[in-house]
Subunit: 145 residues, 3 copies
């Protein structure tokens, strides 16, 4: 099953999309399987990170903005603005696709894990995200080994 | 097939888990398919790296520790200790999930590739890793093109 | 379906392999499914990036070369040359595997997305890339939600 949705982030940074992906898994009626989340852009990306304390996300953003600042004289690809080239660099350092197993009808996310759209441009643009859900009809559970 | 196992690393750094994943593939009786390895944590991560010379792994750890040091004044998320925020940053720069094709009953790892749990906290905690194996019943091999 | 191909990049940097992957998808006759691209090396990697303006790729290469320079005194793994350890570091910061959904017989790449082999060694070596294509026989499309 393939679902497509569009998110427009209001500003640069991490925007949680976990509930949308969980809803897609629920709608698919998959008990077990594999969920792939894919973003069709090169100046925004995906990451799985701590969803409890907002200070962790703010620090992630500040750290990455310091590592990849705007107005670095190394950039020549500047025609689309000072936030364009940093966006591409941040995208290669994070993820374009995420693969998350499905068990008992839910993503196997850890207690503190959330799925995030990371908007790297200053002003959010509409971002298309594809969710692919593959059902697995012959699961066998084995705990620990 | 979904398997779950827990690893407790004794210290910060790269810990090889290749043989456990290969064992899961063998136990699944999958000849061909796709193996997804997923870690349910945001302060530890996964990576595929050189498994031959331990000096390469030591250098990876030293380099990443220098890029993301403890006690950086930029951090505000510090209530869980000085190694907490660096752990989240190291996790976003590496992987939470890995997808590895299975061929002839084995992961298609290269000769020098190993699968690693990267513990980013100073003191290892129990880390849950999920292995999802999808069998592919209609494989066709084609060499090069 | 599993396909294997070898690319030898003539020099360090980003080398587009999109058309080879699209060809493999076409040859598989998959209408819907999941394509996994896997590189069997630890000193070269994969990334999905902007395929329009070459200046973006040149800036990515220059930025990463500055972040991970050769001849850093931190390296002890130097027996294979000054470009060996930087290659491993660049590989952990980018991707070893990519998962891309297939819809209507094509990869769901965005308009400006290309798939790249990132050769991190100064002189390109033959690099083996595995393409795994999983057909999904029971797709359901749903637009937006």
């Amino acid at each position: 099953m393939i679902l497509k949705f569009t998110v427009t982030a209001s500003h640069q940074g991490l925007h949680e999309i976990t509930s949308r992906i969980q809803q897609a898994v629920a709608d698919s009626n998959a008990t077990d399987g594999l969920c792939t989340v894919y973003i069709r852009h090169t100046s925004a990306s995906l990451t799985i990170q701590e969803n409890a304390d907002p200070s962790a996300r703010r620090d992630l953003e500040r750290w990455l903005n310091r590592l990849v600042p705007e107005d670095d004289p190394i950039y020549t690809h500047t025609s689309e603005g000072p936030d364009d080239m940093p966006s591409h660099i941040k995208a290669i350092l994070t993820q374009t696709s995420l693969s998350i197993p499905i068990m008992d009808g839910r993503l196997v996310l850890g207690t503190w894990q959330g799925i995030y759209l990371w908007e790297h441009r200053r002003h959010g643009a509409p971002r298309t995200i594809i969710i692919h859900i593959l059902k697995d009809d012959t699961p066998t559970y084995e705990q620990c080994f």
